[in-house]
Each structure stands twice: as C-alpha cells, then as structure tokens.
Symmetry: C2
Subunit: 189 residues, 2 copies
Amino acid sequence: MKQSIGAKTLAFPTPVWIVGTYDKEEKPNVMTVAWGGICCSKPESINISLRKATYSYGNIVERKAFTISIPSEKHVKEADYFGIATGKKVDKFAATGLTPVKSDLVDAPYVKEFPLILECKLIHTIEVGLHTQFIGEIVDVKADESVLGGKGLPDIEKVRPILFGPEIRTYHGIGKYLGQAFSIGREIS
Amino acid sequence: MKQSIGAKTLAFPTPVWIVGTYDKEEKPNVMTVAWGGICCSKPESINISLRKATYSYGNIVERKAFTISIPSEKHVKEADYFGIATGKKVDKFAATGLTPVKSDLVDAPYVKEFPLILECKLIHTIEVGLHTQFIGEIVDVKADESVLGGKGLPDIEKVRPILFGPEIRTYHGIGKYLGQAFSIGREIS
C-alpha cells in the first residue's frame, strides 16, 4: 500500500557535487549542490540549480563558467562544509586546506584533491522558482590517474562518489556492483 | 596528476529512474532515464532528459505529465530492460509482469512494485541538443509503507535505489552511511 507524503523534493539518489567559481576579485569559491544531473549527450551537458542568494550564483552569471569537482567519500566532511559556509564571508579553500586549481579551459577553479572534474561553459539559464537552473556544456572531464580503470575511464569504485538523501539529509557511499547496463535486461523479452 | 579524458557525459552518481507515461490509446509505457535530477525546491521540481526519438517523448508532450518510479536493486534487470526495449513495439509492463497504476493526480501511470513514486506535471520544456529536458512539478510523492523510516519519510536503506555509472555502464547499489548532512561539516571553520 502506498502512502502519500506530499509534494517534496524527495528522490534517490541525488549527487554530491562541488561547484567551483571565481568571484570578481579572482577569489576561488566552492559550494555543494545536490540539485543537478546530466541533461544532454550532444552537446555533453550538465545542469545544476542554485538559489540567487548564494555567492556562486553571481559568480556564474558573471563568468559564464563553472567546474564540478566530484569528492570521494573520504572528503565527506569537507563536502558538507562547502554546503554550510558561504563564500561571502569565508575562504572555503583556506578553511579546509584544499587546493584551488585554475582550469585551463574555462574561467573557473576546481578542487585538486577531488578525483573527478568536469569543466563547464554556461549555455542556458532557466528560472524555475526558488532555484535557477544553469546548464553547462562539459568541455572536458579530468580524472586522477589513480582512479582510472578499464578503457582509460574512471572506475566508480575507485572514485567512491557520495550520494545525498534529500529530506532525510544523509550521505551514503556507493555499494555493491549490480550488473552491466544495456545488458542484464536482455534476458527479458 | 589529472588526465584529460575529453568531453563526456561522465559524472557520478547518476540515478536510475523509471518514467511513466500514457500514449494516445491509454497504453501505459515506462522508460529508464539516468539523465535527470531535482532542480528546484519551490515549486518542488525535477528534470529528466529524453531524446525526441523515444516513445515517451511524444507521450509527455501530449499529456503534459509523467511519473518517476524509483526501483529497488532487486528490480535492476527490469530497470535495465525498460531502457533497452521501446514502447513503440512492446508492452513493457506485460513483458516484465509489473503492474501499471493510474496516478490519481496526474495523467500518467506508475509502477506498483517500485517503492517510491513521484507524480509530476510538466512545467518547462528546454531544447538542449540531442536531448530535450522536461521539468516537472512534483505534486505528490508516494512511498510503500514498508520503506518508511523515521518522521514518516522513506529510509534510503530500505528503498535501496540503483545508481548508474555513465560511460562505464555499470549499476551499483547504495553503500554505507557516511554521516548527517548540514551537520558533519560543522567541525570545520
């Protein structure tokens, strides 16, 4: 029996992604987003949603670029902190001891210590309501050599990304391998 | 050292969500999407991206509604099948033995056997490129009583959602609890 629990932003899983931007004084900032996803295969694009009140919102409007740094679970505390503190008041890199690296492709910084990086150019801005959705074209993906697996692609079990559970407000790691996509369903038909 | 791996739709984690729609003859259809995410807190909204070639694309344009059924890992084969087969040729509910249920709030069906359901009204359509992004307002969330935990909210460890790794094409379950959001980062500052 299904129970109605109301209109809520409640879907599993949501990602834990760190958005990197520069402000007008070239100060690098990072903030955590869980509202986001991939949204197009050609051009390769990703969407993130931010409230206008955030420091990063103004930076993206100004610079028309952002990065996404995907943290491993060992950095879950830093990822949480990046969503609590505001770049208006603090230097989040200095507070955590993590290292900003200037992207060579877009006008934004990423987090050196995080294993998987997307460099994005802003291509669409959609006003949805409390949040503004930014769609960025992914111009490059960069990965630490230590997380690469077969075919030169990142191994998700080495990256160890973090998941967020909205409403219940919990972080989880990734679990067991369940099967190969576009393959295990073929036995049904 | 970071290695460039090119412009790819490569971010972890992405979800495995089953989009439910009706066609003109009231035939219920389902398809799997990994391109999607929550995109706004007020109105509560979620985005999914579909290619125009899919059967579901036309159904959403016509009905202006869709559901998202979130499968548990025990249904990973059915979830994969829903992304392989096309509703143009087959009845995916009949093929899997799963049960369509008509939403009482939006003009779309959901999957009875899946534990967490979002019922959505189409509010925005954005042409990004190969994919069209549909933004739906979440008018209700419904959950099986068996997956509810504290505060009447779904327990992610009971829902057991599936994650998809783009490019590497693997499915994974959720893993260990890593901490409470908006909390564990407070010790940094």
